[in-house]
């Protein structure tokens, strides 16, 4: 099956299992709600009875932005510091939810919350081990290869004659890093896919086997991954253009903007499902066929 055909069937699968995206969105929404709650209450305490609070509603204004920065200069550092631990917890939560997504994609049944959570629990430890191994992968790529690449870019920009060179180099470096990231992410996605489809339990063995699997069909797999990446970019552009159309003040526009934000987060969640569903399709198609 060709790459586009696999993408097509993965796309249909992601459409059929759209409920998975809702679960992901819900987890994201609730988690963010908890994180933002202290900030909300802090603002409420200090600004709800101030006329400055009303200015917050009228849009951005450097006077009150300055006030916020001044008022919360110590709290902000604490807030960002505090975000680190929940973020790590969120990562682990995602490892947990990935099991549910892949588990439900790999079977043809309808999606329901109980089965989703059951699969999440079933694959959690396997996926957690893959997650730990993937950290090594990311470190290898970004620390060692990344440093080498940065040195190359530095050599290039050191003799730059104008800012154009440094700009081009910076964007190119970012692009190369994103491509590297996509490779590592894709690699460990397939490790997870193989663990689910083949009901494997050994994360290291699956990782090693994946070198063989992807080594033979790397560019087709990567091409598919990048196509889904383009869908993600397309959705982001769609969100951006839509958000531009929404007026910046007023109660109804505020509600519309809030809903639009959530639609975008939901779309991002759906692309996660799309990544996994296309990868499942690819794996099933290529696993036993000759490269």
């Amino acid at each position: 099956m060709g790459t586009f055909k696999i993408f097509g069937s993965g796309f249909l699968m992601a459409g059929r299992k759209a409920r998975l995206a809702i679960y992901l969105w819900l987890a994201n929404f609730l988690f963010s709600l908890v994180l933002v709650a202290p900030f909300y209450f802090l603002l409420q305490r200090d600004l709800a009875r101030s006329l400055a609070g009303e200015k917050l509603f009228q849009g951005q204004d450097l006077l009150w932005l300055g006030d916020l920065v001044y008022k919360y200069q110590n709290v902000l550092a604490l807030f960002f510091g505090w975000l680190v631990v929940p973020s790590l917890f969120y990562l682990v939560l995602q490892v947990f939810l990935n099991g549910g997504i892949l588990g439900r994609i790999s079977v043809g049944e309808r999606v329901n919350l109980a089965a989703f959570l059951s699969d999440s629990a079933k694959y959690f430890w396997r996926f957690f081990r893959v997650f730990l191994i993937s950290i090594i992968g990311y470190v290898l790529v970004f620390v060692f290869i990344g440093r080498g690449l940065s040195s190359l870019f530095k050599i290039w920009t050191e003799s730059a004659a104008t800012q154009w060179t440094t700009m081009a180099a910076s964007f190119l470096r970012l692009f190369v890093f994103l491509l590297l990231f996509s490779i590592v992410k894709m690699f460990f996605d397939y490790v997870k896919v193989s663990l689910v489809i083949e009901e494997g339990k050994k994360a290291i063995r699956a990782t090693l086997a994946n070198f063989q699997f992807l080594g033979r069909r790397f560019f087709r797999a990567w091409g598919l991954f990048l196509i889904v990446g383009l869908v993600f970019i397309g959705l982001s552009i769609g969100y951006y253009l839509g958000a531009k159309l929404i007026p910046k003040s007023g109660v109804i526009p505020l509600v519309i903007l809030f809903v639009w934000h959530q639609v975008y987060i939901l779309a991002m969640s759906w692309t996660t499902v799309l990544f996994f569903s296309t990868e499942c399709e690819f794996f099933k198609t290529h696993k036993y066929s000759p490269p």
Partner: protein, 709 residues
């Protein structure tokens, strides 16, 4: 390469023409005081750029006059580039302490300036007497940025000394305002320059500090700059000649300017040099002249502006921004001229700083560096902001030449304030922006529009309690404290002063200060004196509270209550020798009865205002309190603001809605405007909006994290 012979012929022909053209001027380039003043410090410098070795070789004649009643035994010279000579320099030691905001010199890129000869014109060699002076506290022994030469006999009052120096200097590789990158140069603080001799105090000649700019005497300059023929050159003052050597390989440019206190120049082969005129009659209407003359109470002729030759040296990659550069410069010449006095020089040279020469956004007399990027959003006032600011330094530093080592706010603060005024008048608010690798994000996202004063205020309130604005430049707690205090806090205080005194009064103050201290070295007290004189009141308290101390200014409303006036009371009361109890039920009846009789309820509103900060309003100033009521009416009270808090009680037939202190926002320096108002009923829409935005970005961040799982 094949075009070289033609090019050489062309250069030779042009050079001959140039020599012929310049002959009448060559006579004039003999040391003659361009300022027309006698006994004025004069420099004539011959400098040659060695492009291959990245060196300058120069000869310098200094005519220095003893204006004091003291005998002066020596002369002190700034040798600024020795700040980059080794890590024992004050500059690099301060940099090490600063870490992030300091500068670092890479191996093999040390630079320096050496005095090769130092003679008096009549013969005696002063070089054996040379010693480096380290007096700035804290001491940095080993610094060589201030040198002392001892005269054979002390210089008597009214005597002039003619020093003949020869020097060699290694050009920095783009360090702190000066330097080269590839074959582009920006050359500043490059020649041996005497400090300022102050009667009764001696030499005012500080070392090169990380957080400080400069101070020197006004002088007349003639500078001959020899560079390879392919270079385009710009410099302080007016170019009077360009003479090519016989081979056509080098060209010597001569620049002349009177009554300036520094001289900078730049050279690069790919500069595009454009010249235009600021034609005052075209830029300023009669109506505008009349308005300004009225505002300043000056005759119409005194506010008229002269024409100015504007010279732009811009890099090819920024060519598309030529119009933006000239438009900003025209606005600056116009409004600084109208408000603070006409620009007195014939030329102003605006340099788009050569890439990686670390020379952007810096001022020198009659020349300044702007700074831009290859991509710029028109909604964002960059490079306009830096152009207006650096030109403005021609007034605040260039003309009213304060000591930037000791009182940097006098130029940076006043000029930051002035920049904001000019930008607001010429452009209105600009968009706040940030960029990703040089790509303006304002092309994609809606950032807030703002006036400079709003931006300045953020810096001002952050730094209130660390250093006074008037601290010596290198003695601030950190470099960031220096920057935020002398630029932003000083500017915000001046905006506050303007709001207190009125815009017209503020223009009169600054105009008087500028014109009175042109070609002089004003001090902070001079500024205060002008304020007091112009306002006919003692405003010293304003400076005591906000400039000389580290007091935070924050007045606010602590509480607001509004309830029905309590006229009837429960309990046991003595009436006609008997005890009579008034119960809740009785109260209700009494209230109803009274309402029926009077037809309305009376409410008591109690507002408690507080002075949260240490700084106080004094003099004739007071803090205004305005209370708004449900029936649309409002009440105003004034508080002298001396005690820590005060209670105001108002009785009205309407409930209060909100109370606001300083409702006209006079006190821009107030560090917390959120507590300036209080409403009876909370309103959470704005808070929900802000929290929703934060939540969305958190959601996006968390979604991105998912990629790692």
């Amino acid at each position: 390469m094949e075009k070289a012979p033609n090019r050489a012929c062309l250069i030779l022909s042009l050079s001959l023409l140039a020599i012929l053209f310049c002959l009448p001027f060559l006579e004039a380039t003999q040391i003659t005081p361009a300022s027309g003043k006698k006994n004025f410090t004069r420099y004539e410098i011959w400098v040659e750029l060695d492009d291959a070795a990245k060196m300058l070789k120069g000869k310098e004649d200094i005519f220095w006059f003893n204006h004091t009643r003291e005998e002066i035994p020596d002369i002190r010279l700034h040798l600024y580039w020795n700040g980059f000579k080794n890590e024992k320099s004050t500059l690099l030691q301060e940099s090490r302490e600063e870490s992030l905001l300091g500068i670092q010199v890479e191996d093999r890129h040390w630079s320096w300036i050496d005095l090769k000869k130092a003679n008096l014109a009549d013969g005696p060699d002063l070089l054996p007497t040379l010693e480096f002076i380290n007096q700035d506290e804290p001491l940095h022994p080993g610094d060589q940025t201030v040198a002392r030469l001892v005269f054979p006999q002390p210089l008597l009052p009214g005597e002039e000394v003619h020093l003949k120096l020869e020097f060699e200097a290694k050009i920095p590789r783009g360090l702190l305002r000066s330097g080269f990158y590839k074959d582009s140069y920006f050359i500043a603080q490059w020649f041996p320059k005497p400090g300022v001799y102050e009667e009764g105090k001696g030499w005012n000649c500080y070392e090169y500090h990380l957080s400080s700019e400069f101070f020197a005497d006004f002088a007349d300059f003639i500078v001959h700059i020899t560079v390879p023929a392919r270079f385009v050159v710009g410099a302080s003052g007016k170019q009077v000649s360009a003479v090519s050597d016989r081979e056509g390989k080098k060209v010597t440019y001569t620049f002349q300017q009177g009554s300036i206190h520094d001289f900078a120049w730049t050279a690069a082969p790919d500069f595009i040099k454009l010249e235009r005129d600021f034609i005052a009659d075209r830029e300023v209407s009669e109506e505008e002249y009349r308005e300004v003359a009225k505002k300043l109470s000056l005759p119409l002729e005194e506010v008229r502006l002269p024409d100015v030759r504007m010279i732009l040296l811009i890099k090819p990659e920024h060519k598309s921004q030529v119009e933006r550069h000239f438009k900003a410069l025209r606005a600056a010449i116009k409004y600084y001229g109208l408000w603070y006095g006409p620009y007195p020089y014939e030329t102003v040279t605006m340099v788009d700083p050569p890439f990686r020469t670390a020379s952007g956004g810096m001022e020198y007399p009659t020349l300044f560096t702007a700074g831009t990027g290859v991509l710029r959003d028109k909604k964002v006032l960059s490079p306009e902001s830096v152009i207006v600011h650096e030109f403005g330094h021609g007034y605040w530093y260039g003309l009213a030449a304060n000591n930037e080592f000791e009182e940097a706010w006098l130029d940076e603060g006043i000029n930051t304030y002035s920049t904001g005024k000019v930008l607001a008048k010429a452009y209105g608010p600009g968009m706040f922006s940030t960029s990703l690798f040089g790509l303006p994000l304002s092309w994609f996202f809606d950032f807030p529009f703002y006036y400079d004063r709003e931006f300045d205020r953020i810096g001002a309130i952050m730094i209130a309690e660390i250093d006074p604005i008037t601290a010596f430049s290198w003695r601030f707690y950190k470099r960031v404290s220096y920057g935020l205090n002398v630029y932003f806090r000083a500017s915000t205080c001046l905006h506050t002063l303007e709001r207190l005194l009125g815009e017209d009064q503020m223009v009169r103050i600054l105009q008087t200060f500028q014109m009175r201290f042109r070609f002089k070295h004003p001090r902070t007290q001079d500024f205060i004196d002008v304020v007091n004189e112009m306002t006919a009141r003692d405003m010293s308290w304003f400076f005591e509270e906000l400039f000389f101390t580290t007091l935070n200014f924050d007045y606010g409303i602590a509480s607001l209550k509004s309830s029905e006036k309590k006229e009837f009371f429960r309990g046991m009361f003595d009436a006609d020798g008997k005890k009579e109890e008034i119960t809740k039920k009785d109260l209700a009846g009494m209230k109803k009865k009274r309402e029926k009789a009077e037809g309305q309820k009376i409410y008591t509103t109690e507002v408690k205002v507080r002075r949260f900060g240490e700084a106080r309003v004094r003099g004739e100033a007071a803090v205004k309190l305005r209370v708004f009521f449900e029936d649309g009416s409002e009440e105003v009270r004034f508080w002298d603001g001396q005690k820590r808090w005060e209670k105001f009680v108002l009785e009205k037939p309407a409930k209060a809605v909100s109370a606001e202190i300083d409702p006209d926002f006079i006190w821009l320096i107030d560090s917390n405007i959120a507590n300036n108002s209080l409403k009876i009923k909370p309103c959470r829409r704005g808070i929900f909006r802000a929290a929703a935005k934060v939540m969305f970005w958190l959601q996006c961040g968390l979604s991105s994290l998912r990629g790692l799982s």
